[in-house]
Amino acid sequence: MTFFGWATIAIFALVLTACAYPLGRYMARVYGGEGVFLTPLLGRPEAWLYRIFRVDPRAEQDWKAYARSLIVFSLVGWLLLYVVLRTQTLWEFTGLNPLHYHSATWDVTFNTTSSFLTNTNWQYYSGETTMSYFSQMAGLTVQNWLSAGVGIVVAVALVRGIVGRSGKSLGNFWQDVVRTVLYVLAPISIVGALILVSQGVIDNFSSYLTAHTVTGLTQTIAMGPVASQEAIKLLGTNGGGFFNVNSAHPFENPTGFTNFFEMLLVLIIPAALIFMYGRMTGNRRQGYAIYGAVMLMFLGAVAVAYVAEAHGSPAQHAAGLHTHVIAGSGGGNMEGKEQRFGIAGSALFDVITTVTSCGAVNSAIESYTGIGGAVPMANLSASEVIFGGVGTGLYSILLYVLLAVFIGGLMVGRTPEWLGKKLEVREIKLAGLGILITPLAALFCTAMATATNAGRESISKVAAGGPQAFSETFYAYLSQANNNGSAFAGYTGYIQPAAGNLGAHGVKLADVLGGSTMMLARYAPILFALAVAGALAGKRVSPAGLGTMRTDNPTFVVLLIGVIVIVGALTFFPALLLGPIVQGLTGHLY
């Protein structure tokens, strides 16, 4: 551990808060229909889009209409992406398939399509050996934007339901998506992409370069339109790398500065949404309470991961390596980490992308120490509520808030009230289902994949025969069910003898089970969240009385953290014990 390591973590938390606060105010104005500084520029294009889409943006939708538009939009998006990915050779005429790659097989494409639609961006394929530039742009990049947009609008709709005082309306889905893309994602993504290029992220349509090295070897260097995808990949908490090694690749993340900037891109919207929530409820302290709770859990996770990785791994120590800091070297577990990020820059990035649904990685999580690897798994076990994905994080934690209010109400023996609205059986049931479906899916799939030969096919050779084999499997389904997308990357779902997909085949159980899980664990909670919004929207608001439990003070922060930790721990502790915790507690090598 170094001074600079801890400084990075502290500065990051401060800069994040400083950026997210004004963005939250801005987003509250955007979704409240008020003018913002970009309105003069974007008002016209916004109106054109409504006309082209043939929608009346002022037509209010109740939760069922809102949900139906969302589902139809997602289904059409799924079909289009699947077709684009499966017809890779058809688009050769664009010149955007310079290496003449064929399409990947149906099974892995099913997985990939579901993955990008659901903001998961789990990748069984490797970008530079599978995808043409056209697929990356017109297929994957598009869903990097839209899956983020869909997540955000659900959160906005839920907040409208919570605070709504006039009937059943949650707003208009099409209007919310258009505004999210134009006013929130586009400006940050365009500026972000250009900042990334200015620091060394590549962006071109060249064929792969062939270098003749000074030692007499040749080196083929993958190219591509990386920066445009990189910016939205992070900003939308997508996380699907242009290259196989994701943000560890020097062309995706070339310096210590870009690493810091990329981490900021990942967390800025999830953090801003919490402040936005506070403003939309009319009581900013509601937002501060949630922000405080998730920031505490986040910093705790970062500290554990940093300490564990700085300590080094049993394998290193068995080989005789000394892992402490020496002059000119940061020490620690550098297996699967890049020199320019070091231990702190890797551990912080890892925690940021696993508390959110981003799942980008700048280091190999599979090579993390047992405890270092248990941290991302614990983050995932908390079901995307510690900041969480764009939108998903906010609507998920609001379901937990509802649960915490309910439990608090039981403890004091009063009908629970939240922001003046009485909570009744229907909302609690819906919220409970919304919270439980993801862990259920994760555990069910892990059991399926561990118990069957077809499932065990995916386990990597380096992990076989020890607790790491279980960790790999568990992580795969935990990540896919939570729509995260980070991986113990040895876990295999696509076998590719050579670049370009000829002769390649998918591991069918892994591809299909994973793909279905991502869809289920994305859309079921969305429907439950919208149903909760619908149930709350029509409720009368009564003024707070003496006995009303406050949801904007430190007591509630503690209660909320307690509920999240207890639900997560009760659900996942046994599974965590079998994998990473065993690895973390023993010095034994397998």
Partner: protein
């Protein structure tokens, strides 16, 4: 919908919108997907590419390095150097040999794996065999971890300063340069932490080796 709540204006509108036929949603969704694909999947990447090629052509094209008119590599992509006459990059787990920049990959070696220990031991022995003759007193305890553990991308362009200073003894001896000269070149190609605090300093191996070549031929 229950009727127990007051029917506001918004609710009335909501009911009207709710009756919008499914067909309309499908038509809108198809149009929206096509338009978004055009805007976000074609126009946006082309625009970023266009601006990047004009404003930052070197970066956008991967910071290629040419020597005597030949492309010898990218400044930010690691390369394998086998001969002891050059500084060595970090271990790399890419397929088809180390530092395969057409197929980046992790080693995925686990923290409690015997394979990891074996890989570490193999790298340690190689590093000692290579450097100990020139840096007497070098032991396993003094080897910086980055010299032995494989990088994440398999394409790490950098090594730690400590790693470079150890290898400097070997390079100085084999290239008939003074240690001070080699050390000053190391310092020249060491990049600082981002913004002064983010990440770790690192030495760019390819640039350093090219500089060593220049220093030797002169």
């Amino acid at each position: 919908m229950s009727a127990e709540h007051t029917m506001g204006e918004a609710q009335a509108r909501g009911r009207r919108a709710g009756r919008r036929p499914l067909r309309h949603d499908v038509v809108t969704a198809v149009i929206a997907m096509l338009v978004f694909t055009l805007l976000l999947g074609i126009v946006y990447p082309l625009a970023i590419e266009g601006v990047s090629q004009v404003a930052f052509p070197g970066n956008a094209n991967g910071q290629p390095i040419y020597r005597d008119g030949t492309l010898v590599g990218s400044k930010i992509i690691g390369q394998a150097f086998e001969s002891p006459r050059w500084f060595h990059s970090r271990p790399s787990a890419t397929e088809g040999g180390p530092d395969n920049a057409a197929a980046s990959t992790f080693s995925n070696l686990g923290p409690n794996s015997k394979l990891t220990r074996e890989a570490d031991e193999e790298q340690i022995n190689e590093y000692l065999k290579l450097n100990e003759p020139y840096d007497k007193g070098l032991t396993v305890a003094k080897i910086p971890v980055d010299a032995v553990n494989s990088s994440a991308s398999g394409l790490d362009p950098q090594i730690s300063e400590a790693n470079a200073r150890i290898q400097a003894h070997r390079i100085a001896a084999l290239r008939h340069l003074s240690l001070a000269r080699v050390d000053s070149l190391i310092a020249k190609y060491t990049s600082a932490r981002g913004l002064g605090f983010s990440g770790e300093p690192g030495v760019n191996v390819l640039e350093l080796n090219l500089a060593i070549d220049r220093a030797t031929t002169r």
